[in-house]
């Protein structure tokens, strides 16, 4: 119980507190999170949204095995007391869990679920749709807000250190983003689909909140010689991944605006619905790959770009894998952005083929029309924000997929601003699919018993996959064949599970409804 004591030292006592903790309870990590720790995160923490820079959402922990997972029991639960569902991936540093909902950040003792402090952002008029999570650096923790601010809090007690504006909320930007820390850059994305706004990704000094650079996925207003065909949009609302050797940040970009009206933005609309590789020091583009040229269905390519070093085509390669919202699975060489594989992993009827660059070619007959077009996937997509997981032992990429159809309408009267059209989901079915990373072949499927899932996937070195179904349960599957080994009816899992080890005990953490649940193998009292 070092935390209550620790908090007495206040914001000036960081060093003394660190020494105290090292002497008394000796956890593996120091109190202050060094950015270099993200290169090799210790197993007693989950320092960044994806757990590490690779986006594999995979843990080396193996205390809980296929043989023992059936005994998993509740270690503790934390009730937010809010009506907002937890959609955030928890961050864990120094034995403290940071979990968010829009306007809220809680610090919780990872050993027993006790609240240490809570920060509530003042009431505001931004979009309150969800929140993906926090970020940590040294003794600071960061929260993005519905009105597109970036708040730095003292990780010890939640006091505000600084408040920076990411983008102008009055224009229609908001943020649900879990920032990504790369050395002395805090990379922050925004959303903004309801207005015709340029897509922006920004870097801030994590110490001071001073802006460092802005990357535009579509041209800033009044740019001469626009390459985007007049499109705006391409918001980078999901957390990217990072390759330290190449010094490249990989981010998926959002759909173009106006969303369903493609007539007013001819051409491919670069770099919307793309995976872009960016130098994190300068914000300059190294390469881009467009998953959906000229999208007219709201299928952003914001899904996690998963970085894997593995054999491909007979040679070791530095790969980037993405199961994209448009229903296609892509493999790229991440050093150049060159496409190596394009194949569907969910119902998709919108492309007439794949071009020489590996991009699906949109069938003009499937663009939204006055009399309606029956299109797969629906607007929610073949997958979405929910984290996939790559298991190195089996070479499987586990994806929360969605086979779905929608009807898409557009006519001139719908205009050219914001949504500019109408679409209706007809039917969708959620299914967890295990893809062979080399071919995209489905090795197994696990029915999620409902529509699109909300949960991400976590795999562990013991051969387990943790996720939630579309009904009522957290589930554990055997990674090799998808067999169910454990479940708990905690309610619909709305986030990506994480795992960590403290005091020799492995915990698996799920968000169910508006509560966090930590499971572990039983110990004798």
């Amino acid at each position: 119980m070092c935390w209550p004591t620790f908090r007495r030292f206040g914001s000036q006592g960081g060093l003394k507190a660190a020494l105290y903790v090292l002497l008394v309870s000796a956890p593996a990590a120091a109190q202050s999170v060094d950015p270099s720790a993200l290169l090799k995160p210790p197993s007693d923490s989950w320092l960044t949204y994806h757990g590490d820079y690779s986006g594999r959402h995979h843990s080396p922990l193996a205390q809980v095995t296929p043989a023992t997972v059936g005994q998993l029991a509740l270690a503790w639960a934390f009730q937010t007391g809010q009506t907002q569902q937890i959609k955030a991936t928890p961050i864990l540093a120094n034995g403290v869990i940071y979990i968010t909902t829009p306007d809220n950040l809680w610090a919780i003792d990872a050993r027993n679920g006790r609240q240490l402090w809570r920060y509530a952002y003042p009431t505001n008029d931004g979009f309150h749709i969800g929140h993906r999570g926090a970020a940590v650096y040294k003794d600071l923790v960061y929260l993005t807000t519905p009105d597109a601010h970036l708040i730095a809090l003292d990780a010890r007690d939640g006091t505000v250190k600084w408040d920076a504006v990411i983008a102008d909320a009055k224009k229609g930007y908001w943020s649900t983003n879990a920032p990504l820390l790369i050395r002395n850059h805090l990379i922050v994305g925004v959303s903004g689909d309801f207005d015709n706004l340029p897509g922006i990704l920004r870097s801030f000094d994590p110490e001071t909140g001073k802006a460092q650079w802005t990357f535009y996925s579509t041209p800033p207003p009044d740019t001469p010689g626009s390459v985007s065909g007049g499109a705006t949009g391409g918001q980078m609302w999901m957390t990217g991944t990072y390759d330290p050797e190449l010094n490249l940040l990989f981010v998926g970009t959002g759909n173009p605006t106006p969303v369903l009206n493609g007539d007013v933005r001819p051409g491919d609309n670069r770099w919307t619905c793309s995976i872009v590789a960016i130098n994190p020091d300068t914000g300059t583009l190294a390469w881009g790959f467009q998953a959906s040229p000229h999208d007219t269905h709201d299928w952003d390519a914001a899904e996690v770009p998963v970085l894997v070093d593995a054999e491909f085509g007979g040679a070791p390669r530095q790969l980037l894998l993405q199961a994209s919202r448009n229903g296609y699975y892509f493999v790229l060489d991440r050093t150049t952005g060159k496409n190596l594989l394009t194949t569907p992993f969910a119902a998709a009827n919108w492309a007439s083929g794949v071009d020489e660059a590996g991009r699906p070619t949109p069938d003009p007959a499937k663009e939204p029309a006055r009399d309606g077009r029956l299109v797969a996937p629906d607007e929610a997509g073949g997958t979405n924000y929910r984290s996939p997981s790559f298991d190195p032992a089996t070479g499987l990429l586990l994806v929360s997929a969605h086979d779905a159809y929608g009807i898409y309408f557009y006519k001139k009267e719908h205009g050219k601003y914001g949504w500019a059209g109408a679409d209706y989901t007809v039917h969708g079915r959620g299914v967890l699919r295990a893809l062979d990373y080399r071919t995209g072949a489905v090795r197994w499927s696990h029915d999620l018993h409902g529509g699109a899932g909300a949960a991400g996937v976590l795999t562990t070195a013991a051969g387990l996959a943790f996720t939630g179904d579309s009904a009522n349960s957290a589930i554990a599957l055997r990674t090799s064949d998808g067999a169910t080994l454990w479940h708990s009816g905690i309610g619909r899992v709305g986030n990506a599970p994480i795992t960590y080890e403290l005091d020799g005990r492995q915990y698996v953490l799920f968000g169910g409804g508006s509560a966090l649940y930590a499971f572990a193998l039983p110990v004798t009292p």
Binding site: T83, D125, A347, R370, A376, E379, A380, A420, Y424, D469
Partner: protein
Amino acid sequence: MLATALACVAAPDAGAQGREQSSPASIRPAPPTAPQAYSREQIDTGRTRFAAQCGFCHGRDAAGGEGGSDLTRSALVGEDVRGDRIRPLLRSGRPDKGMPSFTMPEADLTAIVAFIHDQRAEAAAATGGRRAVDLADLQTGNADAGKRYFEAACARCHAAAGDLKGVATRYEGLPLLQRMLYPGSGGRGAGPAPKPPTVRVSLRDGRVVTGPLAYRDEFTISITDADGWRRSWPANQVTFTVDDRLQAHVEQLGKYTDADMHDVLAYLQTLR
């Protein structure tokens, strides 16, 4: 300044019973009979609160956003009188459909109700609205071709002179199209939900229980018994069959061309 928002009440024959049974033309906008007045101030406050809390899913103008329905055409909004339907729904949410519950001050709830009614009135007064799909938009099919397709693909379960007799007098336009593709997909605005499939559960002691499906996931099977009680069993302790006839609609989604879809719709429109 007072702005008048008009709420539609359900058509006379669209009460609870009517909706469950024959479902008349309740899906068509009914004439406004219960005028509801809200102050401009309330509506403006409601606009701000709605945008922040509801706008992502239902659109800032309440005419539909990502995943949420078009509230200006919602049957429930149509039946609402000064929040008597909307308010409880905001408080309870619809967890099964991903809608959270909301705790907010009474004044904010009232403002949101005011804004929704104002948007509904505005949408009803507008023609060719921003999100609207009009009946005239959907008249591109060929009824003869649709009849041939229907007889080949749909006649195993449906009959023009049987269950679908007069279907075009009950539904039209987008709700008819949604119902045709997958019953229930248009929400309450597209008529009653389809009957749940029948489940036959064989218990370990040899007894057999049948009833309409109430709930099912990987671990539980649940029916409503003849007396209206829910009965549940662990899915791995019984054997059961689910006669889900709607699965044929799901399979058809992967087979329709857009022309097929419009042709079948044109044919259904002749079934008066």
